[in-house]
Amino acid sequence: MNATLKVRVWRGDAAGAFREYEVPRRESQTVLDVVSHIQRALDPTLAYRFACRVGMCGSCAMTVNGAPRWTCRTHVDRVARGGRLEVAPLRNLPVIRDLVADMREFFDKWARAGGQFKGDRSRHDEFARVSPQSEKRGLADAGIECIGCAVCYSACDVVARNPDYLGPAALNRAWTLVNDERDAGNADRLRAVAGDAGCLSCHTHMSCTERCPKALSPTAGIAGLKRAVAVAALRGEL
C-alpha cells in the first residue's frame, strides 16, 4: 500500500477541469472517506453530497475511475489503479458544481414513468392480503430495494444517446408497481412506459444490471414491462 493516494477530482461545472490532490492512504478507506478528507483538510470549497455513509440513502454516487459507483461502500483497494483515483460527478446528469450532479431530471422521470402508487381502497376497507409466496409479490420484491442512487441511470448507454429515455431506475420502479396487486393505475402506467422514450428503447446492454450497487436487475424489470406493454397493445388497451 502506498503512503499516499493521488486523486484527480472534478472541480467546477460542466466547463470545469480535474484538479489533483494527495490524500494519505488508510486501512479500509472508502472513496467517500477520500473525498471527505479533501473537503475537510485540503479544500473546504469542494462540493459533494452524502448522508448515511452506510449504503442506504443513495446520495453519494459518483463516477470513480470512469465507472459510476456508490462511494460510501466502495473501498479504495478495489478501485485505485497504481495509487491513483479519479472522481467525477455522475454521467448523464447536469453538473451543478464539483461532484454534485443535478438529480431533478432523474427523479422527474420516476414520476413520468408512473412511479406513484395509486390505490383504490380507503381506510374503511379491509387490508389487502398479498401472499408473500405469490409470483407477483416475488417479482416486486426483486426490484423493490432500489435506493435511487442513479448509478444505473449514469451507466446507461440509451440515456446517453436519447435524453428523453426514462432510464433503468424509473422503469424498474414502474415494474414493481405493475406487480403490486393493490395498485389500480396500471393502464396509465403502461401507456407511460410504452413508446420511444420508454421500455422498448432498452437495448439490453445490461450496464445497469452490472453496475447496480444493490445487485438489482433493472434489465429484467424492463423486459417484464416490454412484455406487459406488448400484451396491452395486442389487446388494444394502449
Binding site: A142, D157, H203, T204, H205, M206, S207, T209, E210, S217, T219, A220, A223, K226, R227
Partner: protein, 100 residues
C-alpha cells in the same frame, strides 16, 4: 461484454440488410449462376463470403440472446449469455471456414 455484443449485433444487422438485395438479385438470375460461382472462387470473395456467414451467425446468436433475456424468466445465467452468444457465432464461422 454485453455492450460489445450489442454493437456487433447492430453492425451485422446493418451489413446483412445492405447485402440482402444483392444476394436476392444474384439468385433470381439462377441460370447465370455458374458465371457467378466462378467469380466467387477468388480468394477475396471467399473471404467476404466467410465474413457474411460469420455476420449471419453473429446476428443470430445476438438475437437469440435478446429473445432469451426478454422472454425467459430471469436467472443468473443472463449475465453470461453475451459470452455464450459470441462463442456460438465464432464456432459457426469456424465451421464454415473449415468446410470451404
Amino acid at each position: 461484454m454485453s455492450r460489445g455484443l450489442a454493437l456487433a449485433h447492430r453492425l451485422s444487422g446493418l451489413a446483412l440488410a445492405l447485402f440482402l438485395p444483392v444476394h436476392f438479385w444474384v439468385l433470381a438470375r439462377a441460370l447465370q449462376l455458374d458465371a457467378f460461382l466462378a467469380w466467387t472462387e477468388q480468394p477475396a470473395v471467399k473471404f467476404a463470403e466467410w465474413g457474411l456467414v460469420t455476420l449471419l451467425a453473429l446476428h443470430l446468436a445476438g438475437g437469440v440472446r435478446v429473445l432469451m433475456l426478454e422472454f425467459l424468466p430471469w436467472r443468473d445465467w443472463a449475465k453470461g449469455l453475451a459470452a455464450l452468444a459470441a462463442g456460438c457465432a465464432l464456432a459457426a464461422g469456424l465451421a464454415f471456414a473449415l468446410a470451404l
